[in-house]
C-alpha cells in the first residue's frame, strides 16, 4: 500500500491544477454557471483533449488503462474549484457502469466516443423508494414483440441535461430481475424535467410513460444487473467523495488566508486561539475523511464486493458529514462576508450540502449499513443456536 502519488499520477494532478488555476477562477465559474449551468462544451473538449475523460478506461477503447486512483485525482482537483461540468455524472457513473456490464459490443461502440468527449452517458437509477442508494427498481420493463415498454420515474439524474444516452435500471416484468438499458436521450415519449441544483448545476428527473425501446438496448446480464449497477455507482460515489475532499481542502486554504488578513481588536483574527483550534478541527476532519476515502479505495480494489459496498457507504456517510462541517465552519470563520452570494466561500458550503445529498445522503447510507449489520448479527445468532 502506498498513499503518495507516483510520478505519472503527480503529473496528472499537476496538469489539472495548472489548467484549473489558470482557466477556472471563481468569477469564470460564476459566469458560465449563469450562462450555461451544465458547463461549457468547449471545456468538455479540453477535458477530452487532455485525456481526463479517458484515463480510467481500458486501452482497448482508447483509454489509458488507469484505475479508480486516476478518476479520483481528477474528481479531487475538480472539487477544489467546484467545476460545473458533469465529470462524475457523464464520465464516471455512466461510463463505469457500462464498463462493468461486460457488454463487449456496446463497450467497444460507445466507450471510445465517451473517451473522446463526443458522447455522454448518464446513469438513471434513483427512484422515490430508494433515496439515492441502488436497489431493485420499481420502474417496469415489459417485454413486447420487438423490445420493451418502460414505465416509471428516475430521480435526480446528474449530468442528464447534456447526456446523449442514459443507462436506466428497471425491473424486468417477466422475471423480476434488474434489467439495465442504454436509452437514447431523445427517445420519443421520454419526458425530461430540468432540476436546477443549489450548487449551480442542473440535474433532471426522467418520466417514462410507455416509452418503447428496442430489444438490443439491454446491457449486461440481468442476473447480475444490480451488481453491475452497484459497481459503476461505487466508482461515482468515490469520485464525489474525492471531490468533497478537494472542496474541503480549498475551503480551508481560503479560510486560513482570510484569518491572516482580517483584522479585529487590532490584530489578525488568526491570532485567536479559538479560531486556531477551529481550523485545526477542520483540517483534522478533512484528513480523517481522506483516510476514509483511501480505505474505501482499498476495499473497492480488493475485489471483495460485500466489503467494497459497505466501505463505499461508510465513505459517503463520513465524508459527507465532514464536508458539511468543514464548509459550514468556513462560513462561520468568515463572518458576514461568508453569507454573500458574490463571495466564494458560501459556494463551498452549497456544494457540500448538494454533494452530501447526491447518490444517497449520510443518513441513507448509515441506514443501509445498519440494516446490513443487523442482518449479520441475527444470522450469527441463528448459527449459534444451530450449533447448540
Amino acid at each position: 500500500m502506498q498513499f503518495h502519488l507516483n510520478e505519472e499520477q503527480s503529473l496528472l494532478q499537476e496538469s489539472l491544477r495548472r489548467f484549473l488555476d489558470n482557466e477556472y477562477g471563481f468569477e469564470y465559474r460564476q459566469s458560465i454557471r449563469r450562462t450555461s449551468p451544465q458547463g461549457l462544451r468547449q471545456n468538455w473538449r479540453v477535458f477530452a483533449e487532455n485525456g481526463w475523460l479517458a484515463v480510467a478506461l481500458p486501452e482497448s477503447v482508447g483509454g489509458f488503462g488507469g484505475s479508480i486512483v486516476e478518476t479520483l485525482i481528477i474528481a479531487h482537483e475538480f472539487g477544489r474549484v467546484l467545476v460545473i461540468e458533469p465529470y462524475i455524472g457523464c464520465a464516471v457513473l455512466g461510463a463505469q457502469t457500462l464498463l462493468a456490464s461486460g457488454d463487449k459490443g456496446k463497450i467497444e461502440t460507445f466507450l471510445p466516443e465517451v473517451a473522446q468527449g463526443r458522447l455522454r452517458i448518464a446513469l438513471a437509477y434513483d427512484e422515490p423508494g430508494l433515496r439515492g442508494l441502488p436497489g431493485p427498481a420499481e420502474m417496469k420493463a415489459k417485454s413486447t414483440v420487438n423490445g420493451y415498454l418502460l414505465n416509471g420515474k428516475k430521480l435526480l439524474v446528474i449530468g442528464a441535461v447534456d447526456a446523449d444516452k442514459f443507462i436506466v435500471s428497471t425491473r424486468l416484468e417477466d422475471s423480476g430481475r434488474t434489467g439495465l438499458f442504454l436509452v437514447d436521450a431523445d427517445t420519443p415519449d421520454l419526458e425530461r424535467i430540468d432540476l436546477p441544483l443549489h450548487d449551480g448545476t442542473v440535474a433532471q428527473e426522467l418520466v417514462f410513460k410507455d416509452v418503447h425501446i428496442s430489444q438490443t438496448a439491454m446491457i449486461g446480464n440481468p442476473d447480475i444487473g444490480l451488481q453491475i449497477l452497484r459497481s459503476g455507482y461505487n466508482q461515482g460515489v468515490l469520485a464525489i467523495c474525492a471531490s468533497m475532499i478537494g472542496a474541503m481542502e480549498r475551503a480551508i486554504e481560503i479560510t486560513s488566508e482570510y484569518l491572516r488578513t482580517r483584522q479585529q481588536f487590532g490584530q489578525p483574527i488568526s491570532s485567536f486561539q479559538v479560531l486556531q483550534h477551529r481550523m485545526a478541527d477542520m483540517a483534522t476532519e478533512m484528513e480523517l475523511a481522506r483516510s476514509m476515502l483511501f480505505s474505501a479505495m482499498a476495499a473497492v480494489s480488493s475485489g471483495n464486493t460485500a466489503h467494497a459496498d459497505q466501505s463505499v457507504s461508510f465513505a459517503k456517510s463520513l465524508i459527507g458529514r465532514s464536508a458539511k462541517f468543514v464548509c459550514g465552519q468556513a462560513i462561520q470563520l468568515h463572518g458576514g462576508i461568508g453569507m454573500t452570494e458574490e463571495y466564494v466561500i458560501g459556494h463551498y458550503f452549497k456544494y457540500a450540502m448538494v454533494a452530501n445529498a447526491l447518490l444517497g445522503s449520510s443518513s441513507r447510507h448509515d441506514e443501509a449499513c445498519a440494516a446490513q449489520l443487523e442482518h449479520q448479527c441475527l444470522e450469527d445468532c441463528l448459527d449459534q443456536e444451530q450449533v447448540r
Binding site: 485545526a280 483540517a283 480523517l288 449499513c369
Partner: protein, 399 residues
Amino acid sequence: MHFEVDPKLDAFRKEVRDFLQANLPSDLIGIPRVGRSPPYAQSRWQKILHAHGWGAPYWSKEHGGNGWTVQQQLIFDEECVAAGAPTQDVFAHKLLGPVLNEFGNEEQKKEHIGPILRGERQWCQGFSEPGAGSDLASLRTKAERVGSHYIVNGQKIWTSTAHHADWIFLLVRTEQAVKKQAGISFLLVDMKTAGVTVRPIVSIDDCHHLNEVFFDNVKVPVENLIGTEGDGWKITKFLLNNEHASTAHLPTIKLYVNKLIALAKKLHAPNGLLCNQTDFMLSMVRIQAEVQAIEFMVQRVALLEQAHDPQAHVLGSMLKIKATELQQRITELLFDALGDYGPVRYPSPDQGLHPDINLPMQGLARGLVNEMFFRRASTIYGGTNEIQRGIIARLLFHF
C-alpha cells in the same frame, strides 16, 4: 498510490500469529489489564519474547532490536492484543529505550538495556508536576550537583505504574536559566533510593494506575544523567516525537467494537435484541466507519514515520485527537449498551477475580464501564487534545 497489500506483511502477520499460538502460555492469556498488565505478567512475557529474539520489537537492529518497520510493529501489537497477551513495558520500550539508544553512553546502555530485555527492570516516567502539566517546561523538581551526585528534591504527579516500577526516568531542573526550557536535564533514578516516596492516586475508573512521587534529598549518581546538563528538553522532544502511529490504540478500539457487537447479539431489548434497535445500530455503523478511517490514518502515519517525513507530526496529532475521541464515544456506547446494568458498579478490575463476588451479568459487564471512565484520560495524556490542536495550527497554518 496503490492499495495492494504487501504479501510480506501478510506473511509476517502469520509468523506472529504462529509464534503467539506456540509461545503464549495459557495462564498469561486475558489477565485483566489496568492500563497495563500486572508486573509479573509483563516480566514473564518479556522473558519469553526475548528468548525468541523478539525482546525489543520497536528498536532498530543496530540497537539490538528486531529492526521491524512501523507497519510490522503495528501488526505485532494488533496480534498480541487479539491473542490476549500481556502488555510490554511501554515506558521502557517506546520511551526510554529509544532515548538510551540515541543519547545514552556505553555504560548506561550496558547498565539498562539488558535488564529491560530480560524483563528484570520496569520503568515509569517522571515528567508532569502539580504546576507543570501542559506547560511541562515550567517544572520545578530540582537536581543540585554535589560532588559525584545530584541531590533531587521535588514532586512528580500522574506517574503511571510508579508503584510497580523499579526505576524512573525524570525531568529535573539543573539550572535556573532565563529560558525555562534551557535548564532541564534527563535523569535516571532507582526507585529504591532513600528519599523516594510513592503515594497512590485512585482514578475515576476505580483503579490505581496513577501516583504521586516525592523526592526528598534523593542522592543520584552523576553517571545517571543522560546526555549533558540542559539536554533534557531536546531529549523530551525526541521522545515525544518518536512514535505517533501507535497512540491511536487501534487494537484496543477494535476490541471495544467486538465487545459492542457481542452485546448487540446477546442483550434483550424491546421487540427483540439490542441489534434490532435502530438507534443503537446507527451509532454502531457510524463508529465502524470511523474505526475504518482511523485504521487507514494509522497506516498513513506509519508510512510517514517510516520515511522520517515531518508531516508525521501533524497527521499524528490529528490521529491522536480523532482516535481518543472515538475511544470515548465507543466506551460510552458500551455503557449505554449494558442498559440497566450500565450504572452498576462491579468490582474493579484492580481487585482481581473474587469467586465470592457474584453479581448478575458480571461475566459480560465487569470492567467495561471502568474502561469508559478510564478513557476520559485519553484526551488528556500524551499532550492534551487542546495542545494537539495548537500543534496543528502552528505546523499546518503557521498562525
